[in-house]
């Protein structure tokens, strides 16, 4: 979330799309209800199903799954055509005035620079024109046909209400009503927010779904403002924190880009990761990259990390291409992986194409499951009849199952969707011999380290020198780990030399041995260590700020500055400098947040700006971008700088109505497809129905089926279909049905409902099959098939998040 759960109450309009907050995040949704009750905010729900969020909405519009960019692109077209944008905000806070390169183009749904064989773009024609002064060229009048604003207008002019309706199946009157409602939010005294979840991410165009909405929020002037923002309603309680702690291949703690084979030297790596400002006077926060990276290396390698050793840069593993979960299972399936550890993760039930996963796991030499509960993955080798029909004797994988504690049995901090880290105490003893994840990792690592110390082995240096200064090396405590994450001064941190008097002694800002108060104190010379710069400040000399329980909210805007610690720097709304206009004044009296008081930035939040940066210095609000502004044209995206609608890889209409004559542009041309998986995609002739997976309010993934109370409330698997489809297939409510995709089948019960209606799309009728995915062959619920048997093994072109929300199935009575 750029904003926070409690900030939703400040919105004038809330759109829930790509999510179903009323059922999946019921308690967070109360802030939507609060806005509706207290300030007469309106709620829009756009979803393939009439769900419980829709039931509370002022306006519900159906949309075919997998067509969100067409819908949102249509909104952009409407806003630009009807001039319903927040002009001053757009000019000041976006790259609308920036000039793009003359060679940039979109032909038949493919942007310039495409290499069909590699399924990749050469991006040299994308991006901005640079002037001789080293800065991007701009046109303040917005008239140049190459400026981003004009390019944007041109790109989305094709997304007419007729086209939106043709692709999405959304009735035009509903679409236009939503455009009008959103258009009203371009007024300076109005803000609207978006709440989305996995309904947007689990697509091969997932990142672009979110980007399109972010662009709308920029055009409406809603970013960095109370009641605005782009709010991802995230999954697990600490999915935010675990992402921040770099538990995925591409980055290090705090989103520091991980080195790849191209970064063959330390200098080259730092150069790539440390951008230069693209416009005059910009903050360009990533210029601090070396401070953050070197401090992390001090936390990892301690005394061995020195300027002379390039902070042990060579010890850091270089990324060998993508190593996301799909890629790992692909390697495993090819027999290129020997070992696998899964900590509190049940991939067999969570990752697409269960049969492929099962075959892959069967090729491993060893598998280690660290989990508080028995999981399907741990038992993948066991025969559970039709639900898991395998031969144990044929599976040679050695499987270890290690009991870990659950949340109530360990202390530590969790970071919620609002980016607020909150400390919890240990409430109860674990059952049996269960141990915390930290203790298990420490015991395992100490064993490995002892083996390397005694017998040597491949590259032992990094193993032997990993900093491990914990009071109890076999059981590092959560508090000393959080202090390590926060960072400390290893030598006195001195103030920069005074240019007027360079010989004068420099003030000591942080004494050696003290916890740093924030990331501004981190240095690149080895004098500081910090496990995650984003969390710096969470455990300063003032103590553990994540354990704060203050409920004071002086502004009344839901800004609880003394409850937990929000990263970065305890900031509750990101980019909040944009809550004021160019001169530092609030956009409207009723939307006053951070503002310039003549001497400093002030307001209820921690300003997202150098506190003394006067408005006339012209420092842009989007300090993390070297442009200083937010990007409407983003070259970082794999499939194009402007989002374009592409069909799901398994499309029920078999054509992209925007580009009916170009087979290359049917589905995302830049998405990665593994060999063999292309053949595993189903075609509409054999699998005519569009399917999506989703969650129920009573269950959390495949986890709560182990809890009796939840098992009682939703005991058994089912799929939802419309009355129309039921009639067509001769199905009744409660019938046993076989749902199959090109990858396998599940047998389950049919729930016939009015919540789902067929879509009228591209001159045909498209039926939806809704598949809740909570069941499996372990737990207190009735055993059932794993829903992810059906889902396709293909991911978003940028994030590799699998396309579980749009694929093809057939359904028959059994």
């Amino acid at each position: 979330m750029t904003n926070s759960w409690t900030d939703i109450k400040n919105a004038d309009l809330i759109i829930v799309m790509g999510g179903n907050a009323a059922e999946a995040h019921p308690v967070g949704f109360k802030w939507v209800v609060e806005a509706m009750q207290k300030r007469k905010a309106r709620l829009i729900s756009v979803d393939p199903r009439f769900n419980r969020t829709s039931a509370l909405a002022d306006l519900y519009a159906p949309i075919r799954n997998g067509t969100d960019i067409a819908f949102l692109g249509g909104v952009i077209n409407w806003l630009l055509s009807n001039d319903k944008i927040h002009h001053d905000y757009v000019k000041f806070n976006t790259d609308a005035t920036f000039l793009t390169k003359p060679g940039f183009d979109l032909k038949d749904g493919i942007f310039s620079g495409y290499d069909a064989a590699k399924r990749k773009y050469d991006k040299s024609t994308w991006g901005y024109q640079m002037g001789e002064d080293g800065y991007v060229k701009v046109d303040e009048t917005l008239q140049d046909p190459l400026c981003v604003y004009q390019q944007l207008k041109k790109h989305y002019s094709r997304y007419t209400p007729e086209m939106v309706s043709k692709i999405c199946g959304t009735p035009q009157d509903k679409f236009l009503k939503i455009c009008e409602m959103l258009g009203e939010m371009s007024a300076p005294d109005k803000t609207s927010t978006i709440c989305y979840a996995l309904g947007w991410t689990q697509h091969t165009v997932g990142s672009q779904n979110i980007r399109t909405m972010a662009m709308i929020q920029l055009l409406l002037g809603n970013m960095g403002r109370p009641g605005g923002g782009v709010n991802a309603l995230r999954g697990h309680s600490n999915v935010q924190g675990v992402t921040d702690m770099n538990a995925y291949a591409e980055v290090f703690s705090g989103y520091l880009s991980a080195p790849t084979d191209n970064d063959d030297t330390y200098e080259k790596y730092l150069k790539r990761c440390t951008p230069k400002p693209m416009r005059p006077n910009q903050f360009n926060y990533w210029s601090n990259f070396p401070r953050f990276f070197n401090s992390l290396m001090k936390s990892y390698y301690g005394k061995a990390a020195t300027p002379e050793s390039n902070f042990c840069y060579d010890w850091v593993p270089k990324l060998a291409g993508g190593f996301d979960v799909l890629h790992m299972f692909e390697l495993m399936h090819q027999g290129k992986m020997n070992g696998f550890l899964a900590q509190g993760f049940n991939p067999l039930a969570t990752v697409p194409n269960k049969n492929k996963l099962s075959a892959a796991l069967s090729k491993l030499k060893y598998l280690v499951i660290i989990d508080p509960l028995e999981s399907e993955t741990g038992d993948f080798w066991q025969n559970y009849g039709e639900f898991n029909d395998v031969k144990p004797e044929a599976i040679q994988t050695e499987v270890f199952r290690l009991p870990s504690t659950c949340f109530a049995e360990e202390e530590g901090s969790l970071t919620n969707s609002s980016r607020v880290a909150i400390w919890k105490e240990r409430a109860v003893d674990p059952p049996g011999e269960a141990k915390t994840d930290s203790e298990i990792m420490a015991l395992l690592f100490m064993k490995l380290r002892a083996m390397y110390a005694k017998d040597g082995g491949a590259f032992p240096d990094a193993v032997l020198n990993l900093a491990w200064d914990y009071a109890q090396p076999l059981e590092p405590s959560a508090s000393e780990l959080l202090r390590e994450i926060n960072g400390k001064a290893l030598a006195d941190v001195l103030a920069p030399a005074d240019p007027a008097n360079p010989g004068a002694p420099r003030a000591v800002l942080v004494k050696a041995g003290q916890q740093v108060p924030g990331f501004a104190m981190l240095r690149d010379d080895g004098s500081t260590a910090c496990g995650n710069w984003l969390y710096s400040g969470c455990w300063s000399e003032a103590g553990n700020l994540t354990a704060r329980r203050g409920l004071d909210d002086p502004s009344g805007l839901g800004v609880f500055q003394h409850f937990g610690f929000a990263w970065p720097a305890n900031r509750r709304i990101l980019y909040n400098r944009a809550s004021a206009d160019k001169d530092g004044k609030p956009w409207a009296p009723n939307k006053k947040y951070e503002y310039w008081n003549g001497k400093a930035w002030t307001g209820p939040d921690v300003p997202d700006m150098r506190p003394n940066a006067a408005p006339e210095e012209n420092v842009g609000s989007f300090i993390m971008n070297p442009e200083g502004v937010a990007r409407l044209h983003a070259i970082g995206m794999a499939e194009g700088p402007f989002p374009e609608h592409y069909e799901p890889f398994e499309t029920p209409i078999g054509v992209n109505p925007l580009h009916p004559d170009n087979p290359l542009a049917i589905s995302n041309p830049a998405a990665r497809v593994f060999k063999g998986d292309l053949e595993a995609f189903g075609k509409k002739e054999e699998f005519p129905y569009s399917a999506t997976t989703y969650r129920l309010t009573e269950h959390f993934h495949t986890w709560t089926k182990h809890a009796r109370l939840n098992a009682i409330t939703q005991p058994e698997a089912f799929v939802e279909i419309s009355e129309e489809l039921a009639k067509e297939k001769g199905l009744k409510h409660g019938d046993r049905v076989k749902v199959s995709s090109n990858r396998g089948h599940i047998i389950t019960k049919a729930v016939v409902t009015k919540r789902i209606k067929p879509f009228a799309v591209n001159g045909q009728q498209v039926h939806l099959v809704g598949i809740p995915f909570h069941w499996g062959f372990k737990g207190q619920t009735k055993n059932g098939y794993i829903a992810n048997t059906l889902t396709p093994f293909v991911g978003d072109a940028n994030s590799q998040t699998p396309e579980s929300k749009a694929f093809l199935v057939n359904i028959e009575k059994v």
Partner: protein, 195 residues
């Protein structure tokens, strides 16, 4: 009258018992002495956070057991924490059932191994489990560790063992798990955030 909810229950329960007993001829003072305190009153309360979705609702976990060395404690009740500014005392059907997850019969209690080709789990000690896992990891790492790529660039990576990490684990244990995995040279690292 300003009264907390618990006080209110206590007073009203006492009032009810008192009045009906008075009607039967007993004195209220004797009846009050018979009133048993709520079990929750003798429970220890710990503030926690719901492990499920990212609203991260505040929870109060009540356990029996006085904290003495050999007293086995046990969760008997979980309710929403009214002093959490986001959840304000609410829990959804997932969180409200969390006690049954903590006490689930599906909890794994001891380390165990399923040998190659076997049809069953076999209980083993922590030491045996971790020694065997460490041996597997070292053998795989030593056999497949890449110090340089084909171009001669130092890469120091281990690609043949992967690690999926947990999005309900704490920040601290995630940090430590990643530190160990990267320290060993692993590049195959991922978490539920991906899916």
């Amino acid at each position: 009258m300003d009264m907390h909810r618990r006080q209110f229950f206590r007073v009203s329960a006492a009032g009810l018992v008192g009045s009906s007993l008075v009607a039967m001829g007993f004195s209220p003072a004797a009846a009050l002495a018979e009133t048993r305190a709520f079990k929750l009153a003798s429970a220890t309360v710990t503030r926690s956070i719901c492990p499920y979705c990212s609203v991260s609702c505040g929870m109060l976990i009540y356990k029996l057991g006085d904290g003495a060395k050999n007293a086995k404690n046990h969760v008997i009740h979980v309710e929403g924490d009214p002093d959490n500014p986001v959840s304000r005392g609410s829990l959804c059907p997932k969180g409200a059932g969390v006690m049954d997850m903590i006490n689930s019969p599906g909890r794994v209690k001891y380390p165990s191994v399923r040998e190659a080709g076997s049809k069953e789990w076999k209980r083993i000690s922590w030491d045996e489990a971790l020694t065997r896992v460490a041996k597997h990891m070292k053998a795989d790492r030593d056999a497949n560790f890449q110090t340089k790529n084909d171009a001669g660039t130092t890469v120091n990576r281990w690609t043949t063992t992967g690690f999926l990490m947990c999005s309900s684990s704490s920040n601290e244990s995630s940090y430590l798990t990643v530190k160990v995995a990267r320290g060993l040279g692993m590049v195959g690292i991922d978490t539920q955030a991906r899916v």
